[in-house]
């Protein structure tokens, strides 16, 4: 502990973001927001959502890298942040992989409900 005290008492070393970086990130985010709104009106079918998500990811990356200093703070912080994204992907991935498989059953429940509207759990729901 004394090693720190000997250098500059109480000094904390951290990255200070230059104004140019902050403003540059801000302008890039605004441009990307305009792009994502404009692209929406061009019909690209299922590509639309992919593009919208890609732009959102780039925006998120800019915020994380420059506003949140992730570009300068290395090590475990970066690992932790990427871990959160990986585990989120894992969660979404497995759930998506699975739910489409049993939609038939849910559909079947729906038709059943339509056929016998007065019976079944749907009718007395919430009472």
């Amino acid at each position: 502990m004394s090693s720190h005290d000997n250098e500059t008492p109480g000094a904390t070393h951290a990255h200070i973001a230059p104004i140019s970086t902050l403003m540059g990130t801000f302008i890039a985010l605004l441009v990307l927001t305009v792009v994502t709104v404009v692209v929406r009106s061009i019909d690209l079918g299922s590509m639309n959502i992919m593009i919208a998500m890609m732009i959102a990811t780039i925006k998120a990356g800019l915020v994380a890298a420059y506003f949140m200093h992730l570009a300068y703070d290395g090590g475990f912080i970066r690992v932790a942040f990427f871990a959160s994204i990986i585990f989120m992907g894992l969660f979404l991935g497995f759930a998506l992989l699975d739910t489409s498989e049993y939609q038939d059953t849910i559909q079947w429940h729906e038709t059943l409900k339509a056929k016998v509207p007065t019976e079944g759990s749907a009718a007395d729901h919430g009472k």
């Binding site: 502990m1 004394s2 720190h4 005290d5 008492p9 109480g10 000094a11 904390t12 070393h13 951290a14 200070i16 973001a17 104004i19 902050l22 403003m23 990130t25 801000f26 985010l29 605004l30 927001t33 994502t36 709104v37 929406r40 019909d43 639309n48 959502i49 919208a52 998500m53 732009i55 959102a56 925006k59 998120a60 915020v63 994380a64 420059y66 506003f67 949140m68 703070d73 475990f76 912080i77 932790a80 942040f81 871990a83 959160s84 994204i85 585990f87 989120m88 969660f91 979404l92 759930a95 998506l96 739910t99 489409s100 939609q103 729906e110 729901h125 919430g126």
Partner: protein
């Protein structure tokens, strides 16, 4: 009670902001920073549940989302996006100002951030009341008024869409996502006010600015979530 066993004189150079169980300001700063980042990790996973629900329903019932998005006002969403991006810039600038001992600039930047956050909530309030007014609420209580449906069909450029079953699921997800996000904005407003008070009081300096930076990191994650919510909810085609 002091942790200084090595040298009695150390205590003289022990800054007032340094908690007793840390050995240096750097250690305290790094610990706080790692702590807040781990908290952000939990926030990402907290929201991931809602994103998961969104993904599952959008994947299985794209028709609900295509129909329902006409009920949302893209302009409002876009304005809110810009407002949050601006607030992210100003709070990042506030951190820089504190690090450079520019106290007045820091307070100013924090106040602008606070105003942006308030503006965001006001716009959200307008959107919510409009939806409640039209009966566009969640799940069981979903009962869109004739006026609301007319408005939608008008916006769909005369294109007559068949109303899909379980339309309410979109609004359940919409209210869960924006509601939870809104709660985070409100929490952020509280913390930012606290930071304005402390900065104005002169608690922070180039040697001690951790709390401002941690607040900024939290605020950025709130912005980050919105960056995804905007295209997912307002820009569906």
């Amino acid at each position: 009670m002091s942790n200084n066993h090595h040298n009695e004189n150390d205590h003289g150079g022990h800054p007032s902001f340094l908690a007793h169980h840390f050995s240096s300001p750097q250690q305290q700063y790094d610990a706080g920073k790692l702590g807040i980042w781990l908290f952000l990790v939990t926030e990402v996973l907290f929201f991931s549940g809602l994103f998961c629900a969104y993904a599952v329903y959008r994947f299985n019932h794209p028709e609900i989302f295509r129909y329902a998005h006409f009920f949302l006002d893209t302009t409002m969403g876009a304005i809110n996006t810009v407002v949050l991006i601006l607030s992210s810039l100003t709070i990042a600038w506030a951190v820089r100002a504190v690090q450079l001992n520019q106290r007045r600039l820091a307070v100013g930047m924090l106040v602008v951030t606070l105003l942006c956050a308030a503006a965001f909530m006001v716009i959200k309030y307008i959107e919510y009341t409009h939806k409640f007014h039209m009966g566009l609420t969640w799940g069981e209580s979903f009962a869109p008024s004739a006026e609301a449906l007319r408005e939608v069909l008008g916006e769909a450029h005369g294109e007559v869409l068949e109303k899909p079953a379980n339309l309410h699921l979109f609004f359940s997800i919409y209210f869960c996502m924006t509601g939870l996000h809104g709660i985070h904005v409100l929490a952020g407003i509280g913390v930012i006010i606290w930071m304005i008070v402390r900065t104005a009081r002169g608690d922070f300096s180039s040697e001690y600015f951790g709390p401002v930076e941690y607040t900024a990191l939290y605020w950025h994650i709130v912005d980050l979530v919105w960056i995804f919510l905007f295209p997912l909810l307002y820009l569906i085609d």
